[in-house]
Each structure stands twice: as C-alpha cells, then as structure tokens.
Amino acid sequence: MRLKDRVAAPHARLPRVKGARGLRATNVVVGLPVAMFSLATLVIMALRQYSYSQMGGVLATGLVGRAVLLPALAALGNRYGPRRVLIPQVLVFSAATIALMQDAEFSKPISMLYIAAANRGGARADRVGRAVPAGRGSAGHR
C-alpha cells in the first residue's frame, strides 16, 4: 500500500460519520488536560523552586491515585453510565487542580501538594467507562 493511502485514506472519510465532528472536538477538549497536566505541574513547581525529587513525588502520587481508582471508576461507569460518573469526577478533578495550583503558588508544605495530586490523579476524567467499549466493541458489536 502506498504511504499516502496508508496514512490518510481511511481517516479522511471518517469525519463524515454523523456526529463525529462534534464528538471529536469534545474529545480534544476532554483529552487536552491529560496531555497538559503533568507538564503544567512540573513548570509551576520548577518556577516555585521545588526540587525535582519533590516534583517527581507529586506526579507519582497522582499516578498512584489514578491506578488505585481506575478500576473502581470503570466499574461505576459500566454500572451507572458514564454521564453520572463524569460530572462528579470532573468537579473533584478541577477542585484538586486548583488546590494544587494554590499550594504550589504559595509554597505550601509538600504534603499538601501530595494530597491534591492524589485527588487530581484519581479523578482524571479521560477514561470513564472505557471497559464498556473494549468488551462490547469486540464482542457485542459483531
């Protein structure tokens, strides 16, 4: 297959799927925090003279919080539907992000940043209900 066809052909037709443009735009907005949050945390902590070991610790705490809560959130998303889980989740995420920001800005004790990071990591709202399509996409839809 030619390079051009391999890269572009199937995806070029995909936006014609009804509703795809809106969902794609929403997907980008929902997904951006995932691609932004660790870098944004590192930058603000670096500017406030936290050490790189502290920065690593804060990011690691968020990831551990994520790992702990991921299965529970997926199960809740499956049981109650993503909509009922997403709203409380994003409220917690936003509150924890603002708390982390304030803690870093005003050079609060590092333990405060750990707590905020754990909450924020656990409440990241990018993967709710991912268990549903993986199972159904491969079995139920076929």
Partner: protein, 302 residues
C-alpha cells in the same frame, strides 16, 4: 471516550469509511488523540509563556470542566450509558505467564516514558528555556504520528516487533545522556516517539491475542493500572536522580529512562515464547484494532 465513539459507530447506521463498527470507533478516537498529543504540550507552553505560570493548570481545569460537560451532553454518551447497563459483567483477566510478563513490560515502558518527561523539563530548564519544554515534548508526539506507519509492518510478529521497538527506545533515550544538547534532544525525542508508538501498539496487540474478548475489559483496566504504577515509579526515580536543583542531573534522568526501557526489552526477550502464545479462547483475526486500543496510552505524548 471509547464508550461514546462505540455508541456513535453502532451497527446499523449508514456510515462511510472503515466497515467494522469497532474499528471505526477506535479509528475516530485515535484521530482526535493525535490532535491532543501534539496540542497539549504546545498549549501548556503557550499559556505559561504568555500568561502566568498558573495558566497551564488553570487551562487544565477549564478544559477538563467544559470538555466533560460537553461530553456529558453528547447524545452518544447517553446511548453508551444505556448500552453499558445492559452488558453486565466484564470478566476478570486470568493470570498467565504471558500476561504477567506483559504487565511488567508495560510498567517498565511507562516508567521510561515518565522519566523522559521530567528529564526533558529539567534539561530544557538547564539551558534556560523552561517554557520550551512543551515544544520538545511535542516533538515526541509528532514522532508518535510517524511511528504509526510502523503499525502495519506485516512481516514481524508482535512480540518480536515489541523487542525491536523497545531496544530502539533504549537508544533514543540514551542519546541525550551520551551527548547533551538541545538539538540532539529534539531529535532523540522525535525518535523516541517514533519507536515508542509501535512498542505501545504491539503491547496492546499481544494483550488482545492473549485474552478472551469477554475478559478484555478487565485486562485493559489492569493494564492501565500497571501503566500508571510504572509511570509513578519512573517519574519518582528520575526526579530523585535529577537532583535538588536540576542542574546536574537531566542526563541521569535519561539514563534512568534508558535503564527502564532496557529492562522492559530484556523481559520481553525472555518471555517471547509466552507472549506469542494465544490464549485458549483468545480472539484472533481482527487486524487493525490493536493500534487504536493503544491510543489512550499515547495521549501523554508517547
């Protein structure tokens, strides 16, 4: 998001493009993930550089809030919720040698990627351009795009492709340690993206081959946990090694990343036999779906 895409691409609707609804859903999702991986670091850089250091985190919270509200209002999300309640149990992943090895490989690979991220911020900061770290991480995301071309390499089994890709990741991460410099850093991050993408894709492809479809959900969830825990270990280890003020240790951070990637490659090499053995009820013959299953894992830029 996959829920919403799957609901949008449910069978029965007249839709152009890829025929299989599941593949169409993941292809659509992947197309937006590619946007995110490049836009995220660049936008962070822009917000921090032109506004206030807090701009990146404020942007994160704002995008999350408005994005999720917008997502919740999408009709496809409502349909996904209704359909999700019908399906019941998702099944638990069994513990086989192949799956345990794959979990270990995923953790170590994620550790390498996370170590690269914090090391890049430290390295760019050392050269006095802290606001440019987003640009450098975007190079890795662009590399991921290019790495996607490797997905369909037909003449190499997924296990072997994973080993080769991981060894190339070792080389890419070791470059900034061997020869520090901003230009070389950009090149090595691009190469890292190129090689990391097929590694992630191969991992998910192997997972899909090892597991029954009904248990794939549980396995993916556990796989995601392993990735998070590995990334936590990687970022903590690299952060500790980089040092108190970040002036002496970015190279050590890259060395840590290369070490994690090398361990992943060695584990993969040692377990090639078990990774290549499909599960008794494993799903086979669905080419093209595994690359997109890997989509979320690459959102972080790699």
């Amino acid at each position: 998001m996959r829920t919403a895409w799957a609901a949008l691409c449910r069978p029965g609707a007249a839709q152009p493009g890829i025929d299989d609804p599941a593949r169409r859903a993941v292809a659509l999702e992947w197309s937006s993930i590619a946007d995110i991986a490049v836009l995220g670091p660049l936008l962070t850089m822009l917000l921090v550089d032109t506004g206030h250091p807090r701009g990146g985190l404020i942007g994160t919270a704002a995008f999350a809030f408005f994005g999720v509200i917008g997502l919740a209002l999408q009709p496809s999300v409502a349909r996904a919720g209704e359909a999700g309640r019908d399906t019941g149990a998702t099944g638990h992943a069994p513990r086989t040698a192949g799956l345990i090895a794959l979990a270990l490989i995923a953790s170590l690979s994620a550790a390498a990627v996370a170590a690269v991220e914090i090391s890049t911020v430290a390295a760019v900061d050392r050269y006095g351009h802290h606001a440019l770290s987003g640009l450098f991480l975007a190079f890795a995301a662009i590399g991921c795009f290019a790495g996607g071309l490797w997905n369909g390499w037909p003449k190499m089994p997924a296990g072997r492709r994973l080993v080769v890709a991981l060894l190339l990741v070792v080389i890419a991460t070791a470059l900034p340690w061997l020869a520090p410099g901003l230009w070389l850093l950009a090149v090595s991050l691009f190469l890292l993206g190129v090689f990391a993408r097929p590694a992630v894709t191969s991992g998910y492809s192997i997972l899909q081959d090892l597991i029954q479809p009904v248990r794939l959900s549980g396995a993916l969830s556990r796989y995601g946990c392993c990735v998070c825990l590995g990334a936590a270990a990687g970022v903590a280890a690299a952060g500790a090694l980089i040092g108190q003020d970040g002036t002496s240790g970015p190279a050590d951070g890259y060395l840590t990343a290369a070490g994690f990637a090398l361990m992943a490659a060695l584990v993969c090499l040692a377990s090639l036999r078990s990774l290549g053995k499909p599960g008794r009820h494993a799903q086979t013959g669905r080419p093209g779906s595994a690359p997109e299953l890997a989509g979320e894992a690459t959102t972080r830029g790699l």
